[in-house]
Symmetry: C2
Subunit: 218 residues, 2 copies
Amino acid sequence: MFSLAEENYLKAIYHLEQEHNGEVSTNAIADRMDTKPSSVTDMVQKLAEKEVLSYKKYKGTLLTPSGRKIAANVIRKHRLWEVFLVEKLNFHWDEVHDIAEQLEHIQSEELVVRLDKFLGHPDFDPHGDPIPDKHGNVKRTEKKLLSECEKNQRGVCVGVKESSGEFLQYLDKRKISIGTKIKVLGKEFFDGSMIIQVGNDQFFISKKIAENLYVQTN
Amino acid sequence: MFSLAEENYLKAIYHLEQEHNGEVSTNAIADRMDTKPSSVTDMVQKLAEKEVLSYKKYKGTLLTPSGRKIAANVIRKHRLWEVFLVEKLNFHWDEVHDIAEQLEHIQSEELVVRLDKFLGHPDFDPHGDPIPDKHGNVKRTEKKLLSECEKNQRGVCVGVKESSGEFLQYLDKRKISIGTKIKVLGKEFFDGSMIIQVGNDQFFISKKIAENLYVQTN
DNA sequence: TAATATTTTTAGCTTAGTCTAAAAATAAGG
DNA sequence: CCTTATTTTTAGACTAAGCTAAAAATATTA
Ligand SMILES: [Mn+2]
Ligand SMILES: [Mn+2]
Ligand SMILES: [Mn+2]
Ligand SMILES: [Mn+2]
């Protein structure tokens, strides 16, 4: 029904919609997909014909509910395959994206159902991103302070409570910014300090740090 | 390096070469691939440019060693994925071909290595077809009498010893002909009779039948 | 608000892979 | 061996998806 190229566009637009929460511009799509804006205009007009997105010249695009469902399903497959590659084939989590980029386009409802079951119905991919359910719904959660997180919880940094220069510099040094994924590897009850994982780095943070970082948890 | 369409052509030509053992005609390829002969001519000329097959106008084509290796690798992936689908995802063996037709085109050396390992380095796919090794070599075996086969062995019918009308009619009734795959489910030492599987059917055969059927075993 | 800069679209080309219709080569039959 | 049938190739067109260059719309800013 939808070609590989069309699926990739829908997926990119889906992600961009979340990020900008709202219409997505032609240039933003071109940037994300490594194509030229003129190519995007063509494709977006075709997808508007197919009613998977709404488009007004010069005004940007928004997915329709049906387009959003298709995109979510591609993302579901992408993330399920990533789980498979890491959990079953023992790939490292940072090696799997490009393979999943191909596997996400395999067409077979039944395959997805069985893969999901085989993997034990996982809720998150190896990067900590949530796996949409079969209806395209993603479990979206409230933000909270990192200090409220438990061991093994994952979250995405969505903001800071205090924003002094020193604190922001500290975050910068630790390569933490909005959108950074954080996993709690350990938590000390005595002083509330934590060991966390950020990208490939693991390090200690004090309770004070943890109390000033907002995360959106899984 | 090679597109999905090119890979499918190479694979089809590979199979046709075995079947006709020799040059493959344009029409034969068109038939197999469900395309028009004119499309085949175009593609075959392109593949000849790329030196994966040799082609002389009106004379048919033959894969070069490099073309044969590429084809065998696609077939390797196809059959490994079929094993995965049946053994791990519990698909029935007659449901997996179309999905494998897509999965065989996923590009990743490492994925194949790990999938092969995960599956325990299988030698045959769920249909009993041999899985080429990483160098494109297929274990080709001698033909022998079905009566010489052991329990759980699989073979492809490649001929008969006696060819009386009654015998051939029997084979016909049982839907056994050249190319039919047979699996030995059980063997009785006392009288040499067997239970065999042919397609979805399972039935008894006497020693006399088994002694007159040549099979190529895995 | 008028000039300038940026974004987006259009127009026209390109390549891969397919098709139909017609021409050319080869094979078969009398 | 000549005529007819079959196979194969060529010529020309089409669609999907991309590109460049130029035009048009929108946004910025002096
Ligand atoms: Mn990914
Ligand atoms: Mn993709
Ligand atoms: Mn198959
Ligand atoms: Mn295929």
